[in-house]
Amino acid sequence: MKPPVFEYHRPETVDEALSVLAEAGTDGKVLAGGQSLVPVLNMRLAAPRHLVDINRLADLAYVRSGPDGVRIGALARHAEVERDGPAHAAVPLLRQALENVAHPTIRNRGTTVGSIVHADPSGEAPAVLTLLGGSMKLARAGSTRTVPAAEFFVAPLESALRPGELAVEAYFPRPPDRSGTAWREVSRRHGDYALCGVGVLVTLDDDLRVAAARAAFISVGPTPVLVDLTDAVAGQQYDAVDWSAAATLARDRIEPEDDIHATASYRAHLAGVLLGRAGAEAAGRAAA
């Protein structure tokens, strides 16, 4: 299992990177952390003609937190995001979810933006972006566009990123006041792809009743599955929410498949169970 030949580019600036990507077009592939890409290359499941290594673009190695949320540059490693205090204060779900990404050694190298662009339906980061209604900043030579999460994830392993484009930043909005989030997933071994996972965002009103709630599921659809649960749980006291109606709502929306580790019906079952657990925890945090 050795990677095939490719032409290697190591731009020193973002502009340089964009022009190389523009030239490479559909034959180009960005190498950031490589924790998803390199295994594929080693297995020769892919053979990009040009590999554009952005590990020298120090400008993109940032995690910026502000009143409106957290902005993560293309070169920020999972581990850096996970450890970042201000980011955790602003968007706790980031750490809550990223802790579940593989193992620390992988998170030391893998990037959060890279994992979003990878658009794996089992990926935690795409679900977080989706749940919080974040967006991706995509740059190409001479222009930049911003794509909301809702439009970014197109299909399994397919994002809206176009050839020639570089995802430079992911934006995670800070949840409203009186909000709480939680992440729950079940995987076969610690650190494996989740058989099913869910992130929940609950917002309470001044009487600590649920004002709004939504969830994003992984591993049960072609992309992260966002479900608005407000109708099912609105008005209920934060510590006495009945999540069963929400679970039913969610089960109607997800499209799990069988695989060698779990059947579709087991995944659907997990979706309901995990929603209840994460929902209760999120509501509790919202009230705290």
Binding site: M1, P39, P104, N108, R109
Partner: protein, 163 residues
């Protein structure tokens, strides 16, 4: 189809090294073949087993999931570099021998590097933390019991040598 060679500078176990490698040369193969440091082993080449774990600028990373060129300028530490200054066994290595933390020894270098970095940041782990610290490395021989013990013992040894 001759491949372009890229001059790549690495500081490996404290020694500056320069190699000329094809872009696709994995860091693990660069260490093993170009630099003759065969202590780093390849167990799966898809990032799951952890046998190839080395420290890149102090952080544990899979050397099977990195290209040597991409590590240009980095400081690399392999299990060979986890020896004591006098060339004897380092604390983690010594603990593995004392606790019978290895059998066939193939996965061991990946554990040694991972644990060395972990204890640097967490000098006094609990049993549960020790177990979590090695959670990303596969061992087929030991059932991990004595590896967990080795982590705790290594912490003791370091406590003794590092006042």
């Amino acid at each position: 189809m001759t491949e372009t060679l890229h001059e790549t500078r690495l500081v490996v176990n404290g020694v500056p090294r320069t190699v000329r490698v094809p872009a696709r040369r994995l860091l693990a193969d660069c260490l093993r073949v170009d630099l003759g440091l065969t202590g780093t082993h390849l167990g799966c080449e898809h990032g799951v087993c952890g046998a190839c774990t080395v420290l890149v600028d102090g952080q544990p990373m899979r050397s099977c999931l990195m290209f040597a060129v991409s590590a240009d300028g980095a400081e690399i530490t392999t299990t060979e570099g986890c020896r004591a200054p006098d060339g004897g066994l380092g604390p983690v290595q010594q603990a593995f021998q004392e606790c019978h933390g290895l059998q066939c020894g193939f996965c061991t270098p990946g554990f040694i590097t991972t644990i060395t970095a972990y204890l640097r940041d967490n000098p006094a782990p609990s049993e549960a933390e020790a177990r979590e610290a090695i959670g990303g490395n596969l061992c087929r021989c030991t059932g991990y019991q004595n590896i967990v013990k080795s982590v705790l013992r290594a912490a003791e040894i370091q406590g003794e040598v590092v006042p």
